[in-house]
Amino acid sequence: MNRRSFIKASAIAGAGAVIGPSFIGEALALDGPLVSMAKGTPPARITGAAVEALGGMGAFVKKGDVVVVKPNIGWDRNPAQAADTNPDVVTEVIRMCLDAGARKVKVFDRTCNDARRCYENSGIGPAVENIKDPRVELSFVDERRYRMVDIPDGKLIRRWPVYEDVLNADKFINVPVAKHHSAALLTMGMKNVLGVIGSNRAVLHREINDALPDLNRVIKSHLTIIDATRILVANGPQGGRLQDVRQTKTVIASADIVAADTVAATLFGKTPKEVHYLQIAQDAGLGVADINKIRLKKISV
């Protein structure tokens, strides 16, 4: 099932059904979504450990898949400033996809600052280019490639242009960095999909708590890997002050984007109830925002 038919199918089936990954986890007592939380250093290693705990990348990426890996490259900031995804996390995710047999791994983000500056200074551009594998494709977004997508059950938005490569990909791997955000409170996986949509996305901030679940209805993250190797706790999402950065040395992964975000929120000392869009997403059946219903697997490296 490719993304396109998936979206079609879910549109026909109506809201609610979350197609889980083909992964069958360890037989734990609970039946809630599995979230792994790896702590330690270096970033690449805990990224690998977090995905391994979910059954490895092979559980998500099949041989021959076209995969989109979507980091946050939104800002002209350096890696230490924690505004963009850690380049080591991004490259490790790409490597795992390649090892799992991906035919193509596409990496891009629609940035807020000048895209060239963001790609370069975030460290993600040079790091990804350094992989030097013909299957890896790092690109700037191409304005011609947004396609209008219907959001039949959208509360706030009924249709919005989405980047074609995401719609056409077999797998969409969401690799956000966890940060403070004044409108959303926190920006993690669900907010990261704003980087694959077109049009005037700024207007969505007026009702961000409804906009995010709506967009995540049609932009499905097969796997969410949250970079919390260091997190920005104030002056987000752009930061710039090292005093606002906390070294949390954590990577969180899950097939359930809502559950992954819920666990990441705890790093900021927030209860999921405070992050409104997580509750709305849960009500919409997009995932689990109740920390007690999540199977949390902690790994220390």
Binding site: D76, D114, R117, Y119, A202, V203, R206, Q238, G239, G240
Partner: protein
């Protein structure tokens, strides 16, 4: 020998184009090439900026080198180096190749360029710098930056977009790789768009079209840089000399692109001759040489005393009139200068409107002024935040400014430099109107501690409902006036937050800034 000259013209022009294409952010905070070198070696720009600015500008040392070489070798620059001259020669060799120019223009038209030079010299002496109107290098780079390159970019993009949207694989499989190659090497990263593109482009077109009347019409009659180099090179060592074997066929005189050869075919107007060596190459008797024993015959310089005095007087009179313009008393609040710009008077003394800063501006925010800075500030760079903002970590405009009108700043200095301040328009801003939250400006505010602060406030909406809303405020101590808030404001039409030059670092007394709103 003529071949050598052509090779020189082509080689220099290629360097010129290379530097133009590299006047752009390319994953490097410091530009690796001296992209502004053509302007820095322009003695007209150097002279005017130094005179008007009353300062020795170290950046301009290459102009001294050109002066030195000109003193020895004459007005060779126009024939061998000048990219504008190369373009005009190219136009002659292509577009106007078959043209038979019938009407002979009066010979003393060529005096005009000296009058223009004298006007510019005197006005510069009185701190009115109007060189930007006539300097060929500034005109060329400005035209390419504001008009030609954006136009070309748009045309090529439209073509490949049209091919792309055919959705025919047989076409796109070829067109897209070509397009991405062009994008990587020649096209702009994002389509640049400039106000006044049509006006600036039209002037360039006029200069090209004037070739219809005469070869090198611009260089012969109008170019003050040519006039300056002609005067400087008048006594140089390389001169046109005609030997005894001359049969007075007149071929050289008819063919001279500068009209520098006298009616006797032997004498030369030294200030007009650009040493293109055409006369040497076409002489059937090989009688023409530029070095050698034959004695050069010089035509006397005849500018006409009246014209000289008039042009000097116009310069002297124009200066106080233009300098007393009202814009200089109360400046337009939208006059937001690039980071590192000198104080306004000093800035205008030096800025030659070459457009380098606009070309290099990452977010396409620097735009040519119309009358925001008065008539004497025409085409000078201003930040128009609705079109593009100033990237917080970018220092490129200060790196390309050839005259130091924009200082070169370190990234640290740049981040501390205030271009102005942002102010909310509370009758338009979404949360101020009480419609809903928004925070887009706050999210984009680049200062490490955000200059836009949100306060939770309880308000009563028009329908009587009491709601909690995040209202944005500007902390004027932190705001640097980069304009990204105004740029990203989701409102169409007038933005809900606007930047003005109030509080800019370069203003005198900026340190005494008082805030006049909450």
């Amino acid at each position: 020998m003529r071949v050598l000259r052509r090779i020189s013209q082509i080689a220099v022009f290629l360097v010129f184009v290379f530097l133009f294409l590299n006047t752009e952010y390319k994953d490097n905070d410091i530009l690796p090439y001296a992209v502004n070198v053509f302007l820095r070696m322009d003695p007209l720009v150097a002279g005017a900026a130094t005179l008007a600015g009353r300062a020795i500008i170290n950046l301009l040392w290459p102009a001294l080198a050109v002066v030195g070489i000109t003193l020895i070798f004459g007005r060779f620059f126009c024939g061998w180096v000048c990219p504008m001259g190369a373009i005009l020669d190219f136009a002659d060799a292509t577009v106007f190749r078959k043209l038979k120019r019938r009407a002979k223009l009066p010979a003393n038209l060529s005096r005009l360029k000296y009058f223009i030079l004298f006007f510019l010299a005197v006005s510069s002496l009185f701190t009115l710098q109007m060189v930007f109107l006539f300097d060929p290098i500034s005109i060329l780079i400005r035209s390419l930056t504001l008009s030609v390159f954006p136009g070309m970019n748009m045309a090529i993009n439209s073509l490949f977009d049209a091919l792309y949207f055919t959705n025919i694989h047989a076409i796109t499989r070829f067109s897209e790789p070509v397009f991405s190659f062009l994008k990587d090497h020649f096209l702009a990263f994002e389509q640049p768009q400039f106000r006044l593109a049509a006006l600036v482009g039209s002037i360039f077109l006029l200069i090209l079209s004037a070739e219809y009347f005469q070869k090198r019409f611009w260089c012969r009659n109008l170019c003050p840089l040519g006039a300056l180099l002609g005067l400087l090179g008048r006594f140089g060592l390389t001169r046109r000399r005609v030997g005894d074997s001359c049969i007075s066929c007149g071929k050289c005189e008819r063919d001279c692109r500068m009209g520098a050869i006298g009616n006797d075919f032997k004498s030369t107007n030294r200030s007009e001759c650009i040493e293109c060596l055409d006369c040497r190459s076409i002489c059937p008797e090989n009688a023409v040489h530029f070095v050698g024993r034959d004695k050069p015959e010089l035509l006397p310089m005849n500018m006409g005393r009246r014209g000289v005095i008039t042009s000097l007087a116009v310069g002297a009179v124009a200066a106080p009139i233009f300098l007393s313009e009202g814009y200089r008393k109360v400046s337009d609040p939208s006059l937001i200068r690039p980071p590192g710009a000198l104080s306004e008077d000093k800035f205008l003394d030096r800025c030659t409107r070459c457009g380098e800063c606009m070309r290099v501006c990452t977010a396409n925010g620097l735009q040519p002024a119309l009358f925001e800075a008065g008539f004497t500030g025409l085409w000078s760079p201003i930040l128009v935040p609705r079109m593009g903002y100033c990237e917080f970590n970018c220092t490129l405009c200060g790196q390309v400014c050839p005259t130091g009108a924009i200082k070169r700043l370190t990234p640290h200095e740049k981040r501390k430099t205030k271009l102005g301040l942002a102010e909310f328009d509370r009758s338009r801003c979404i949360p101020w109107k009480g419609e809903s939250n928004c925070i887009v400006c706050e999210e984009h505010c680049p200062t490490p501690e955000k200059a836009i602060k949100l306060r939770d406030e309880q308000i009563t909406t028009l329908s009587g409902e009491v709601i909690k809303i995040k209202r944005p405020y500007v902390d004027e101590n932190l705001c640097v006036g980069c304009g990204i808030c105004e740029n990203k404001c989701p409102l169409t039409g007038y933005p809900g937050i606007k930047c003005t030059s109030r509080g800019e670092s370069r203003a005198q007394g900026a340190e005494l800034l008082t805030t006049d709103e909450g």
